[in-house]
């Protein structure tokens, strides 16, 4: 009798369940192994290029000397882009969450999201054929009036295809994601905190500095880091807009600009062969490592603050 009760209470596992569970687990494993595969295959194909001596490759430089200006350019362009995008997207997010009339807030959010839907190649075409020529007079002006700063030392590029133009395009591209995250966090501010501030006689701006911003601070930081990850890896806009020459320079408006890793791969890969391909894949591995570190840091930050702030 006791044996039958045992078999009855145990859950019945049907073959269908086993199969379904198996497929689900395999899919999960495929994802994990893809991520590992990205690292493994890039290493396997990239290491020959990374260890090649200077006279074996077209660039005529060792890998470290080849990749250093590219890493600098990647970080430099992304940081400038972020410096432009952060204040604007916090402003837009505040506008949507706390300033715009409530009825308009959602359509405005859609309009900003439309910016995220534009393909990067369209941004690139617009950047090279429209933006760079219309922004060029600004560079002449900057050179004439702020030329004493190393950033604007000039000579101003005649085409406007400088790293600042590329950074502006990057800033526009990361704007929607940053705005979307900031907006979500701002909207999650406890209503009672806001109303308490207003009841004490605070103006709207004082309410925002007292209730909204302290609550959202960690969220803003992680939004900026996610945007940084995106700006670091963005390829086409930079590849098309920037006229690069592989130097390390903080000059923002001249015609000699550092390239970025991603743009350099896109420009050189179609014509590369043999060890040069390995070198490019090696630089891709470096880019992967950088973005991976930034993203993990951003996600860890979000996870750490999840319990006591709305940043997730």
């Amino acid at each position: 009798m006791s044996t039958t009760t045992e078999t009855e209470t145990r859950a019945v596992v049907r073959p269908g369940d086993r199969v379904f569970r198996g497929i689900s687990s395999i899919s999960a494993i495929v994802i994990v192994s893809t991520l590992a595969g990205v690292a493994i295959f890039l290493t396997a194909e990239g290491v020959p290029g990374m260890t090649a001596s200077a006279d074996q490759v077209k660039s005529g430089e060792t890998f470290l000397r080849y990749v250093t200006p590219l890493v600098f350019g990647t970080l430099w362009a992304a940081v400038i882009a972020l410096a432009i995008a952060t204040p604007v997207s916090i402003g837009v997010a505040l506008f949507i969450s706390h300033v715009a009339p409530r009825r308009l807030a959602q359509p405005i959010g859609y309009v900003i999201d439309l910016l995220a839907a534009v393909p990067s190649v369209v941004y690139g075409s617009w950047g090279i054929l429209t933006l760079s020529s219309s922004i060029q007079p600004l560079y002449v002006w900057l050179e004439r009036n702020l030329g004493f700063l190393p950033f604007f030392a000039g000579p101003a590029s005649a085409t406007g295809r400088t790293i600042l133009t590329a950074a502006v395009v990057l800033a526009i591209m990361v704007l929607p994601i940053m705005t979307a995250i900031c907006r979500e966090i701002f909207l999650q501010t406890p209503r009672l905190h806001e109303e308490a501030a207003l009841a004490l006689g605070a103006t709207r701006w004082e309410m925002i500095t007292m209730a909204v911003l302290p609550y959202a601070r960690s969220g803003i930081v992680s939004a900026a880091m996610l945007a940084l990850g995106r700006a670091l890896g963005e390829t086409m806009a930079v590849a098309m807009v920037l006229s690069a020459s592989g130097v390390i320079s903080v000059n923002l408006i001249s015609s000699t600009n550092p390239s970025t890793i991603a743009a350099n791969i896109a420009l050189s890969f179609p014509e590369a062969s043999g060890l040069d391909v390995s070198v490019l894949i090696g630089t891709g591995l470096v880019l992967f490592a950088i973005t991976f570190a930034v993203n993990v840091a951003a996600r860890a930050l979000v996870a750490r603050h999840r319990e006591f702030s709305g940043a997730n």
Binding site: D17, V19, F20, R21, S24, S27, A28, V30, I31, V32, T34, L35, G37, V38, F41, L42, A44, E45, P87, S89, I90, G91, F95, I96, V111, I112, L114, L115, A117, V118, P119, S120, V121, V122, Y123, G124, W126, L129, T130, L131, I172, T203, R204, W205, E206, L226, L232, E234, T235, A239, M240, A262, A266, F269, S273, I281, G284, F288, T291, V294
Partner: protein, 355 residues
Amino acid sequence: MTMTLTPPETRERTAPSLRTRRLPKAAVGALHGLAVLLAVAWIVGPADARAGLLAVVLAGIVPLWSRIVEGRRKAKDRLVTLLVTTAFGIALIPLGSIVWTVLEKGVPVLSREFFTYSMRNVVGEGGGIHHAITGTLLITLGATVISVPIGLFTAIYVVEYGDGTRLAGALRFLVDVMTGIPSIVAGLFAYALFVVIFGDGVRMGIGGAVALSVLMVPVVVRSCEEMLKLVPTELREASYALGVPQWRTIVKVVLPTALAGIVTGVTLAIARVIGETAPLLVIAGATDSVNFNLFDGRMATLPVFTYTSIIQPGVPPEPAIARAWGAALVLLLIVMLLNLIARLVSHVFSPAGER
């Protein structure tokens, strides 16, 4: 009694001080309106930089005036409101400019020939994007066929089977990190993978599909996961109570309930990857001919076609650049259409109360 007589007097004395002085609404509105008008005129074209300067001055008058009439705090509030609204205006400029440029330069190119001809043996004017449209649709279809099952089943694993286990937690984190893989790295991964199988210099449409899948899977997993989580546990328990096995519960109860959300998520994921250029440039390459075979040789796609037409326009450059704008317009229309479909699906099929 004398005390009770005093209040009317005090009220009369304090009443004016309770109501602070304010700027006349009409004047503020007029100043703002004029500033916006001037700024728009400057950006769109008819006026020069002086109009922009005047707009800044006009808008700047309001906080200064408010400083004198309403005091420091109110003035600061007005200044910040002005800045925040300006930020929104600045964000609109590129969107407007991009849409306008693409429409202005792309619409004249569209013709019957543009959609039905490839670029094979075309020099100078003429030709079309038939090959690029074919390639884009095939490669995106391939990516969808690869990513949707993997993504959906992973979401099912995370929500239905592995909820709370350590693997599910790690999986969520890894999917988040995967979202941040740069698109060019995905392309290099596909290339490195295919080189191992097919040897050096490989170019294949299916490689593009694999690269796009790497970008698409995390998006599909995220959206499917959110949708599956929204399915009420009561529905599952009701099904179990009737003796239905778990896999049939998932197929017959959970998935149909979440279907609209899943379709929306997949459509948005397609919209995200269909415009990707970098990975396709690396692994799918570029060609002038129509190629229907994902497993053989180079394949043209709309983004890569746009890119190569602008970077290497040939001589004379004008026809190639015109075709690039046409291709960019077609691409933009496809992406917008997909976004619209996604919004419509989620709107039409969402439960009545949540519209």
